[in-house]
Amino acid sequence: MSDNSGKAFGIVVTFCAMFLFWLLLSGYIITPEGKLDVLHVGAGLICSLIVALISHDLLVTGKEGKILSKSFRFFIYLWWELWQIILANFDVTYRVLHPKMPIDPLIIEFETPLRSDFALVTLANSITLTPGTITINVDPAKGKFQVHAIAQAPADALTVDKTMQSKVAKVFMEEG
């Protein structure tokens, strides 16, 4: 793909996304008489075009390849993540409401082979949302994570089992 056609592709994708967003959020598509609401839809067209021209390089960076298969795997990963979030909440609730509060906080560090921005953000947010761990620091150059864990068991899940790292790595195809 040449540079110019890539730019046009970015503008078209951004325009479509922005216009869809406009239609969904405004809801004024058809007037009560059943005609097309020209004023509101037209304003949406103009605004999305301006936004697409100015900021197309933010949404479509051109760095990520194989977007479709990645989004598909990411979608599957989301369901696992959702289940982990529910587990995390029961875990925190148990620790908080238990009369003796079974907590033993510690800070751990580990390195991952992940490098791309999106993979690092996904892993960092997943760590924060899953049982007993919160990301403190991420070093994108080395893929190094600093994590605060509320007890020994959730820390081991990250440093010993590494279930989450391998799942995220699989989604973004960055194994090893």
Binding site: L25, G27, Y28, V96, P105, L129
Partner: protein, 115 residues
């Protein structure tokens, strides 16, 4: 049908309130800054999402049938809200955590007095 939806919505709202409440209790009971963030960061996310999801179901099945299009599109906005909460909440928790760590807030160890 509507009664069943109302029961499900009530359960969702109650669960959301329960998690928000345990987050608040955690904020009061846990010993230091970092562990308090564990309680608020996780419980608030799921609590808010459960409440919004309950409102979404109520809007689709009980409130909006027969209404005009702009009213029927409200669940879409709520869905966007859920996505943004899932993105923004852990990011904000991480940002607060990082700021505290970089300015040298000491983490609590087992056996220390409460801070």
């Amino acid at each position: 049908m509507v009664e069943l939806i109302v029961v499900i919505v009530t359960i969702l709202l109650a669960a959301g309130v329960f998690f928000m409440l345990s987050g608040a209790i955690g904020l009061l009971r846990l010993p230091d800054f970092y562990t308090r963030l564990h309680a608020t960061g996780k419980c608030d996310t799921l609590g808010e999402v459960l409440i919004i999801f309950g409102l979404l179901l109520y809007h689709i099945f009980v409130y909006s049938p027969g209404a005009e299009l702009s009213v029927q599109l409200v669940p879409v906005k709520l869905l966007f809200l859920i996505c943004f909460i899932f993105l923004a909440n852990p990011t904000a928790t991480h940002a607060i955590m990082k700021a505290a760590y970089n300015t040298g807030v000491k983490p609590w160890k087992k056996g220390d007095p409460r801070m």
